[in-house]
Symmetry: C2
Subunit: 425 residues, 2 copies
């Protein structure tokens, strides 16, 4: 078989970049790595899987009136495509964000990645429907679009979370071509990879523009939980009220365990059928999901359900202790950058108040060759930002992630990074 | 939102049919249902999840030299997109089928559904690449094609597993249009929904034709394990040897637990890149998978790994006790049909030697209205075959599944079915 006879997504730079990164980390296991956006091991090691499965099955018996063997089967058999923990997640979204959504307005997905794929697939019907991404953007959204042959455009984050003037121009340009910006992927809370927090004003303005241009906002809330109590802003989905302009995408990888592979999508938009029938978009996404993964592992869902129950049914509750550690790491990373990197000519970085990531701008190209040098000679890894952009504006940027490291590793890692940068800038 | 502005797959009859079936079963919980192709509860209830997770982590420590906390993390963290039980599955395929594949030639998927989606996506690069399905075909393969906008054609199973003359004609017709039959989905072993077993002669002829026309065969082995020892035929993948014409698709839903949501794809075809590099197709499928579900829940994989280890690392070993029960049920179903249905004018059915399914042909249309009547007045459910075909040739056919029922239910269910058929034929 020749690679150029296979689907174009397989040779897309997005996939190639990911492949390179996965390999480089395996090749330099002893390097200090600012690359992975994975949860800290202290929240991974101590999860008692069996105990949480027990907690969830006890809940099924107590609250849903199932007999014990029925509860056991719910974890073990095929299950509804929409999921089995929708009630718990809907209740958590109400407790944490004041959202009023019904269990039927949600689909529990095989991680947030599947949620992105389903939303993009349902909304983008053909080549005239374009998916926008606020860039730099999580590479998974771009990848899902590539797999589905959905055309994409990038909109810069403008430092405030979204460049609204650019968004307006892009809508006009597409309209002139007989196309339209169907949806816009945006992560308002300490976005991966930029760390940018969208201001409250920008949230309101973005919603107003989305209504005006009829753009569906795909709001990824992955890192919202890392905000301090005073730094937490309401999600777009909450600010939107009932106008139906926002689909919310979430993951339990950071709040529970990545190994559960559980995410969710909130899509309460009424969809009108040919005979005037109306169902929430989530029902259609659930139908679509039967053709992608059938249903999300009920075992993984039960683990997440048990962990939610153990934390008062709240995402914020699940995230509180985690958020403290991540903020500690982030502050330490910024302090160390201030001391060791800030003075270097042409190097700049942002100062996120939460999330896992800091965005650094270098005066040199942050390409694979620089990463290779960094790994071999300086023993430090990071993520080039080029693949998070749809143009070349990320060629001089790198992402530093602090979630997976110990404080001493952060200090030593920045020292090594400073040594690299001193040598090349 | 209007449904007709969303992706066409959402209004495809395939999805609508599935929706109807899911609903009808919920609406008549007391009916005897020949509909679900789910494993019997006796193989579901007694699976000790925690014990099998333990067994797998002990294996990781003993055989892969991991420290206990590393083993625990492998189940809990993100993991390689290709999977973490590839070695066990590769060894089982060697033990059971004599296949020689490396762990890197496999991807562990979120059920067989994702395996089908990945294979169809990688192989079908554009509108000129057509996916063939031996019909009647499992609806999941057709659905995956719809989600990806991959064009499809149906090839009848001709009672022998594949109508080779029709296949040859279809290849010629597509070639004349400047298109090609890129791949053919086929389930040679007691296919869902037909129950047809492809003869050894047809297997060899199909392989020869596939080589001649350069068609990749997507071989679904889901029900192979239900064969008696003397009734088991070698998979196409084994017969193919090294010619690389076959991609094998498998599921652990029937052998372990549906709730694990674990399947696999064997794709050892060398793919040549632009600089002459060569990697197995499975590596590309794993890269594609990062954009669909990132990785398959390692928790589900660990459960499957533990169950494999508990059964001598063999799929056949895992399936032996199960196969006995399913053959008992199938023989009982056929006996009851012989006694109660065989005499009815215009009714006929096949006599599979394994699998979960019997295919009945009726002299009346087997549509939603008949199913509704069957459920409300006669208390028996079955699956209309129309949605498993790409033309109208299944309009008079139904599928009966015997895997989920107790013997007394099979007897009573056939009695009810006979009453329905006596009334309408």
């Amino acid at each position: 078989m020749r690679l150029d006879t296979l689907h174009p997504s397989l040779t897309d730079p997005t996939l190639a970049a990911l492949g390179f990164l996965n390999e480089v980390m395996g090749r330099f296991p002893d390097a200090i790595s600012f690359a992975p956006g994975a949860p800290h091991v202290s929240f991974v090691d101590d999860v008692d899987i069996a105990a949480h499965l027990e907690l969830f099955t006890a809940y099924l018996v107590r609250e849903r009136g199932l007999r014990p063997e029925q509860a056991g089967r719910l974890l073990r058999e095929y299950g509804p495509s929409r999921g089995i923990i929708n009630d718990l997640v809907a209740a958590a979204l109400h407790t944490d964000y004041g959202l009023r959504v019904a269990p039927d307005d949600l689909v529990i997905t095989a991680g947030c990645q599947e949620a992105m794929l389903l939303a993009a697939r349902a909304l983008c019907a053909g080549p005239e429907d374009v998916l926008g991404l606020v860039t730099p953007a999580f590479v998974g959204m771009l990848g899902a679009a590539r797999v589905l042959d959905v055309p994409t455009v990038g909109i810069g984050d403008g430092g405030t979370g979204a460049d609204l003037a650019a968004l307006r121009r892009e809508c006009a340009r597409l309209r002139a071509e007989g196309r339209r910006l169907r949806a816009l992927y945006v992560a308002p809370d300490f976005a991966n990879p930029s760390g940018t927090l969208m201001s409250l004003a920008t949230r309101h303005e973005l919603l107003a523009l989305a209504r005006q241009e009829d753009i569906v906002l795909l709001e990824d809330i992955a890192y919202g939980f890392t905000a301090s109590d005073e730094g937490m802003l309401p999600p777009l989905k909450r600010l939107d009220g009932d106008s139906g302009q926002v689909i919310m995408l979430g993951t339990f990888a950071k709040l529970c365990l990545p190994g559960a592979r559980v995410g969710f999508v909130v899509a309460d938009q009424p969809v009108t059928g040919p005979e005037g029938t109306s169902e929430p978009l989530a029902r259609h996404l659930a139908a679509l999901k039967t053709m992608v993964t059938v249903n999300t592992s009920p075992l993984g869902q039960a683990l997440v359900g048990g962990m939610l129950l153990a934390h008062g049914g709240s995402l914020t509750g699940l995230g509180r202790e985690r958020a403290r550690l991540y903020r500690r790491n982030l502050h330490l990373l910024l302090d160390e950058l201030d001391q060791q990197v800030a003075g270097l000519a042409g190097v700049s970085y942002n100062r996120p108040g939460g999330g896992f990531f800091v965005r650094l701008r270098l005066p040199v190209r942050a390409d694979d060759a620089l990463l290779e040098l960094s790994a071999t000679k300086y023993g430090v890894l990071w993520t080039p930002m080029a693949s998070f952009h749809l143009d070349d504006s990320g060629d001089h940027e790198i992402r530093l992630s602090c979630s997976y490291l110990e404080p001493a590793e952060i200090v030593e890692g920045v020292r090594r990074l400073a040594a690299l940068l001193s040598a090349v800038v």
